[in-house]
């Protein structure tokens, strides 16, 4: 299977079942990923190759990151796998980083502007969240012997410059404190 052209690049789409979403049940996803994260080479095969979708809302025009059951589901996955961004395809056009971070933070305001929804997030909370998740990814990469810099770059690339600078500053401080 590994020999198939493009095998490692193929995107794995996790379609969360309606029932799991409604009941806030992450056991199906948890069972699969618990097995994967135990074996470094398997985890690496999924690095940046996963997208999470919710078929229940495929034809719903609403912004899914504002929906309670989606937010709850992401929060539960994040609580179990704080480094889950390691697996997500972080290309900006797929908006996986945006989905993930938005679901984990309180939305301060929502504004409907023509066909777009504009939301407000607490920037301090966003910085803290990113620092924590990036730190979790670094720890996970250390454990499975993988490189984390390019993932961190991808996560920060879609943030505002101000947020990115602050996150980097905190990460350096954290690194300094851990090495002391």
């Amino acid at each position: 299977m590994d020999d198939l052209p493009g095998y490692k690049k193929a995107l794995r789409v996790i379609q969360v079942q309606d029932e799991d979403l409604e009941q806030g049940d992450i056991s199906n996803l948890k069972r699969v990923f618990e097995r994967i994260v135990r074996v470094p080479k398997h985890a690496k095969l999924l690095r940046g190759n996963v997208a999470i979708t919710f078929p229940k809302y495929d034809n719903d025009p609403k912004a899914i990151y504002l929906l309670d059951d989606v937010r709850r589901y992401i929060q539960l996955v994040d609580a179990e796998f704080p480094y889950f961004l390691y697996f997500l395809e972080l290309a900006p056009e797929l908006e996986q980083t945006f989905l993930w971070t938005t679901c984990l933070l309180p939305v301060t305001h929502v504004e409907q502007h023509e066909n777009k929804v504009l939301i407000g997030l607490d920037s301090v909370a966003l910085v803290i969240l990113l620092v924590e998740r990036i730190h979790a990814i670094e720890m996970f990469c250390e454990q499975i012997l993988d490189e984390s810099t390019s993932i961190i770059d991808s996560i920060l690339k879609v943030q505002s410059e101000e947020v990115a600078v602050q996150v980097i500053r905190y990460l350096k401080l954290l690194d300094y404190l851990e090495n002391e």
Binding site: K41, K44, I144, L145, E147, S150
Partner: protein
């Protein structure tokens, strides 16, 4: 060696071995020496009889150990330390009164035991649920099995190799042939296939190969270099290591230049090989991936000094270096017979020293159970077994080196 002397097989179950003192390669198969050179690099297993494949891969396996000794400092240094350990024991035995009875095991301090233990001690820098760590011996044997497979089965891939080592090397002591690969594969996946022997070679150029192997696996994994670039050169892997603080590597040549360590067999070989390598030949790249070399002349240049087949007299490599020219006692003119004699004597005496320190642990290939010294088992490493024990050359060699009669050596009786 004398043509009248026959060579009995090795212990049952052993396909081949290379002696770390005299570096003589012994193969436990019916004589196939005539077929060897034509078919050494057979590519398709299905076209080759099973016996021949086993025979051929065994020679390759043991021959790889010899390449390792000539290229990677850890093995060269270990061989030198073993040699010095043997000399220390000989010196101590000589200090005993010549007519005093010596009982075995010898009650003297020797560095040999701790050295051999160290080779088997696993570094636990990295582990998996199945592999608790990696020892220097795991690196040596892991690399050798891997290189041998790649030389003989060119179309093999990571999955094929994993399947083979699972079938052949997954139980008990045999795991030393596969633990290093399985550990690296656990972390790096099938990307390890193109760099495994390089990491092993670099680890064997260090003081602590088990630990260094783990450090390279960690460095390469953490660098992420394999995400975009699968087939790394030796230099790229060295650079990845440097970025993670891995330095202090030495090839055998660098070890000799730096420390001046001398070994009676390996030193002249290293000199001969270096002098005869083609211009611009990348010896380090070769040492790290010998399976990529198609130049038969290179393999001929670095084949072990003696090949021995069951039931056949020793086959001396046609271009033995002059072992006496650089040694402490150089002679005027040296023949192949002198050189072969040196190897045989060295192996016999070093083997005797080990048997004096740890009696009863050695397989006796000699059938002459009526020999008065048979029970001592000191001669187990003496290669040419004579037609009768009265014609045996071991006793003379022993007495000349230890400066005492073999009859003064006794085994302590078990109480």
């Amino acid at each position: 060696m004398n043509d009248r002397y026959r060579l009995p097989p090795l212990r049952e179950g052993i396909k081949g071995e290379i002696n770390w003192f005299g570096w003589m390669l012994t193969v436990n198969f019916p004589d196939m020496s005539g077929q060897f050179e034509e078919k050494q690099r057979s590519h398709l297993e299905s076209q080759v009889p099973r016996d021949y494949l086993d025979f051929s891969t065994t020679i390759t396996h043991e021959g790889i150990h010899f390449i390792q000794a000539l290229t990677a400092s850890y093995i060269y240094r270990s061989a030198c330390r073993l040699w010095h350990g043997v000399q220390e024991v000989i010196q101590k035995v000589r200090l005993f009164p010549s007519d005093a009875v010596i009982t075995l095991p010898l009650q003297i301090e020797s560095s040999i035991g701790s050295m051999l233990n160290q080779m088997r001690t696993k570094s636990r820098n990295l582990s998996t649920p199945d592999v608790p760590g990696v020892s220097p011996l795991d690196v040596i044997e892991g690399a050798t099995v891997f290189i041998t497979h790649r030389m003989h089965l060119e179309n093999m891939n990571n999955l094929g190799y994993l399947q083979r080592i699972k079938e052949q090397y997954s139980v008990g002591n045999l795991r030393t042939y596969s633990d290093a690969y399985r550990l690296a594969e656990w972390y790096l996946g099938d990307d390890i296939f193109d760099i495994f022997s390089v990491i092993c070679f670099l680890a064997l150029c260090s003081q602590e190969p088990g630990q260094m192997f783990c450090r390279y696996v960690r460095a390469i994994g953490r660098s992420g270099i394999l995400h975009d670039h699968k087939r790394l050169t030796v230099q790229e892997i060295i650079d990845s290591g440097i970025a993670f603080g891995v330095t202090e590597l030495r090839t055998t040549v660098q070890e000799i230049d730096t420390s001046g360590l001398w070994h009676p067999i390996l030193f002249p070989y290293v000199k001969k090989v270096v002098e005869n390598l083609p211009d611009r030949f990348n010896f380090v790249e070769f040492a790290a991936r010998p399976y990529e070399c198609d130049d038969v002349k290179i393999f001929r240049l670095i084949r072990p000094p003696l090949l021995r087949f069951e039931g056949k007299v020793g086959n001396i490599a046609p271009d033995l270096p002059d072992f006496f020219s650089d040694g402490p006692a150089s002679s005027q003119k040296t023949t192949d017979k002198d050189n072969a004699n040196l190897i045989v004597t060295l192996m016999a005496i070093c083997g005797a020293v080990l048997a004096m320190l740890w009696p009863d642990e050695y397989y006796m290939q000699c059938p002459h159970t009526n020999c008065p010294y048979y029970g001592l088992r000191l001669c187990y490493a003496y290669a040419p077994v004579p037609p009768s024990y009265q014609e045996c050359g071991f006793i003379e060699r022993f007495e000349s080196v230890f400066e005492r009669s073999l009859s003064t050596v006794q085994l302590r009786k078990e109480e």
